[in-house]
């Protein structure tokens, strides 16, 4: 592979060079999809966002002139689109809140139910070991799915404090659940 700088990539893409476009895709697309997924919590929506970004870039040759880097531009675009998507989803969910929950039809075997109970128990025990404020923040983020800003507002803390406590919680959970990770993944797959 011949290294190409961002500005060369941009110039070539402007000139209609599909290979540079493809190179940009290979360099950035996977991480961009991942990043969008963390925000919108849905990989289909995340792929749509990244797809739209690349289609627009190609059709309009819409890469901004030098200044910010190409990478910043791509991540920033994905970030903005993801936040927009999140707003749309929240509006839709508030309308749909009354409709009946439809099960996905997966019937767990007795064994699976037991294993899930065991896994859930382990996770719960690890959470319980966290210091009080840390535990509260972790629950609000992971279980109630609140944004850092919402947690900070509700608890009268700074967002910085929330960030630091979440970092601590993650470290604790990672150490405590180290040997339990495969079970957590199975638990996750059947409970999402």
């Amino acid at each position: 592979m011949q290294p190409q700088t961002d500005s060369e990539l941009i110039l070539n893409i402007r000139a209609g060079d599909i290979r540079s476009f493809e190179r940009m895709f290979n360099l950035y697309a996977e991480n961009l999809v991942r990043y969008a997924t963390t925000i919108v919590k849905n990989s289909d929506d995340a792929e749509d966002i990244v797809q739209q970004l690349f289609v627009t870039l190609w059709d309009k040759k819409g890469i901004p002139d030098a200044g910010g880097s190409l990478k910043s531009y791509l991540y920033r675009s994905v970030y903005n689109s993801s936040l927009n998507k999140l707003k749309q989803v929240k509006v839709r969910e508030s309308y749909a809140a009354d409709s009946n929950y439809v099960s996905d039809g997966h019937a767990a075997s007795a064994n699976e139910v037991l294993e899930h109970k065991e896994t859930a128990h382990r996770i719960e025990a690890a959470i319980e070991e966290l210091p009080e404020q840390c535990r509260l923040i972790f629950r609000m983020s992971r279980i109630e799915q609140l944004r850092y800003q919402e947690i900070a507002d509700q608890l009268g803390l700074s967002v910085k404090t929330v960030e630091a406590q979440m970092g601590k919680a993650l470290k604790h959970m990672r150490v405590r659940l180290k040997d339990y990770v495969p079970a957590i993944i199975i638990y996750l797959l059947f409970n999402n």
Binding site: G16, R19, F25, N31, S72, M166, G167, K171
Partner: protein, 327 residues
């Protein structure tokens, strides 16, 4: 960038919670790339928070969707690394005729040595020892492997070439394009296989070719185009192909409501006498036109007439003159 473990835990927690700013996401992605250990650390964190974010994402299908949604029409060849100039050879290739030779003689006869044909700043056409012809685009290299046209016809391509193959069942004509092998079944076809690109594009104009990848075999028929992604070993059939891509060989162009500067860019890649504009105002003029094997001068005159402007000959090529175009 050196990050403390504490910072990393915070950063990963933020990222997994969907709270990371673009700058933080970049910081984390760059950190992950630094070592496999960093990558593993991230995976462990993601798993701990019962997330699947670290799992690999299949981007092939995504790229395919982008290609079909975006109006992708002008694949072009970008610069290749310099070639071994000493290997460049003249038009004639050593022909080893095996007709009438006994098996004994055949075994004694030295095989045709490996030969390389390279095009640098202009495309070239060659007739190969077997009668097939190949047009090599600029900055492309074709290697005829040892023993070409004896029991087999094996070639290796770096760059882009158009092949018109004389079919011979006993001696399959096979091109190694890096990760994918293309075998003719009575055919004319175009192959783009640049060394630094992750993709190989094959377009068939006549007949059929067989495409063999490590995982699959596919027969591509006339008018179809296939896209092979080397890193993912996937083969996709593209919905359409812009014939301007093979204009370096055919000198046939077709433009539909395209901007003049794009049109000239495409044409100037094929001819040595560039057509330029004296006025940037002309660059966005839309033009719909076909050219069938014309000279640059004829092309300049057709464009001028169509847009109601004039042209003149310059030292190197032609210049279009005008202040505005008839629209």
């Amino acid at each position: 960038m050196k990050l403390t473990e504490e910072h990393i835990d915070e950063l990963i927690a933020k990222y997994l919670a969907g709270e990371a700013s673009p700058e933080e996401a970049i910081l984390l992605d760059d950190w992950k790339k630094e070592s496999p250990e960093h990558e593993r650390y991230f995976v462990a964190c993601s798993e701990t928070l019962h997330q699947t974010i670290h799992l690999p994402i299949d981007t092939t299908a995504l790229y395919k969707r982008i290609l079909s949604r975006a109006n992708i029409s002008q694949p072009k060849v970008v610069t290749l690394k310099p070639f071994f100039t000493s290997l460049r050879i003249a038009a004639s290739l050593l022909i080893v005729s095996l007709l009438g030779l006994t098996f004994y003689v055949l075994n004694k006869q030295p095989l045709a040595p490996e030969k390389t044909v390279a095009a640098r700043n202009q495309s070239i056409s060659e007739q190969l020892a077997d009668g097939s012809t190949v047009t090599l685009n600029k900055q492309s290299k074709l290697t005829l492997l040892q023993g070409f046209n004896s029991k087999q016809r094996k070639l290796r391509l770096e760059g882009e070439a158009y092949f018109e193959v004389i079919h011979d069942v006993g001696k399959p004509f096979t091109i190694d394009a890096g990760g994918i092998e293309i075998t003719d079944i009575g055919t004319a076809f175009n192959v783009q296989a640049n060394r630094e690109s992750d993709s190989v594009i094959v377009h068939v104009t006549e007949g059929i070719v067989n495409l063999a990848t490590p995982d699959t075999n596919f027969q591509l028929v006339a008018t179809q185009t296939a896209l092979f992604i080397r890193s993912q070993r996937t083969l996709n059939i593209l919905p359409s192909f812009d014939q301007n891509n093979t204009a370096y060989h055919s000198k046939k162009f077709r433009f539909k409501a395209q901007k003049l500067h794009n049109v000239l860019q495409t044409i100037n890649q094929v001819y040595d006498q560039p057509i330029t504009l004296n006025n940037a105002l002309l660059s966005d003029c839309l033009i719909t036109v076909d050219f069938m094997n014309e000279t640059p001068e004829t092309i300049a005159s057709i464009i001028s007439e169509t847009l109601g402007i004039s042209y003149r000959k310059t030292e190197t090529g032609f210049e279009l003159n005008g202040n505005t175009c008839l629209q």
